[in-house]
């Protein structure tokens, strides 16, 4: 039978991790409060804003509505895992800088994770396609034009499966 605490084994950015957490803990809170990975942001905490978007087994999901217990055996990738070296930039991060795709930056980690999934999924062929794919990520500064440009730029450069 179950338990109020749950043991979870998974990988985060390629590293093996094991958690024993209160069953209520979301993947978002586990990443931030238990691993100290603060790149993934808590916005609405209800799946409406996309600031907490991470990849689980190469799929973009919202970490705030994902129970940590449900990721047992999975592979999680966060914004901290986009590059091997701390100083380096992923092509999408570089494109966000080049295209002025952020202002305050709070939504940016989630935008990046969705943007990379968008290119990897082959859904960045047109502005409409990009906008639809990225609709779960809100930017209250309104940097959408730059974000769409950045995604299109990375797609045009052929940086898939990054």
């Amino acid at each position: 039978m179950g338990s109020m605490t749950v043991q979870t084994r998974l990988t985060v950015n390629g590293q093996d991790r094991e958690w024993t957490l209160d069953a209520r803990t979301t993947l978002l809170d586990a990443l931030r409060d238990h691993l100290g990975l603060y790149g993934t942001k808590k916005g609405c905490d209800h799946g409406q804003c996309g600031a907490c978007t991470v990849h689980v087994d190469d799929r973009a999901v919202v970490a705030c509505l994902t129970l940590a217990a449900q990721v047992d055996g999975g592979a999680v990738r966060t914004v901290e895992g986009l590059t091997e070296s701390p100083g380096g930039l992923h092509p999408m991060q570089q494109a966000f800088l080049d295209c002025d795709a952020l202002q305050c930056g709070y939504c940016t980690p989630g935008q990046l994770m969705s943007a990379i999934a968008c290119v990897d999924a082959g859904c960045a062929g047109s502005t409409d396609e990009i906008r639809e794919f990225m609709s779960g990520n809100l930017c209250r500064c309104g940097a959408y034009q730059g974000i769409v440009q950045a995604v299109a730029k990375v797609h045009a450069a052929g940086h898939g499966r990054s």
Partner: protein, 332 residues
Amino acid sequence: MRAFTYTRARSAAEAVSTFATSHRDQPHYLSGGTTLVDLMKLDVEAPGLLIDLTGVPDLDFVREEQGELVIGALTRMNDAAHHPLLAASCPVLAESLLAAASQQLRNMARIGGNLLQRTRCGYFRSVEFSCNKRQPGSGCSAMEGVNRNHAVLGTSDHCIALYPGDLAVALTAFDASLSVLGPDGTRTMSIHDLFVPPGDTPNRETTLEPGEFITAVRVPMTPAAQSSSYQKVSDRSSYSFALASAAVGLHLDAAGTTSEIRIALGSLGTVPWRAREAEQALTGTQLDDAAIRTALEPEFRSARTTPQNHFRVRLAVETVLEAVAAAQQRMG
């Protein structure tokens, strides 16, 4: 969020037996969690035991079985929507899935859980308001509140919350059936028997018995399902519940006479709404916009609108016209 116990079912049978032996713990099945975890954070749902179904094997598939398209209940919305067999044989299903939610939520939510998302409104989600669905007998804040997005069909004096799902509307148009597993074994039920309007018991939304869960969805692969379309009108073009939606399927004979038409209305009722009277009136006729408008009128005889939401009746009619036009194009 109330503390709960979590357990991961390794088989469908184990899930059912765990539910049956723990009924005192207020058990609840969990799949993608996109509605349930949200409502638990709001203290609207407070199960004592979550039985995670996502590890149950063999329920993640799309395939053809004896003229039916069969979708495993644990298939992710995105995976189902992009499956070539589904997209080719029932485009209305793919369109309804892709019109719903966001990319992230479609990666999480499963087909069975999508159908069983709660019929809900903002007052249901906010514990500071009275809500007959959340707390039977407490009243309905929506009646005199902000109700622009609430139901106009199938309502009662107790609840006007909308069934907001898209996929269920398409399934309603095409007479889907559901495979259901529970303590008494498996059974098959029509999608038409799943959802119940609020009546005096708005807290009860489906006919599923405690401990039952959907294992598969079955859709007859017909010519009308192939020439089908789902159209959705909402305040935002993406990631928004519909103000009105329509699922339509068509089959015309060589002379252009309608031998079959299917129409279901979404985001208008407390349950997905099949427009059978309109279908009957239009069968055997040549379709034109005026005839479709006239045929749809009886569907709204029972509509109860408010000054904020009455525009959605007309919007629904226009949405059906768009869906018919799109389905006609699919006839080639």
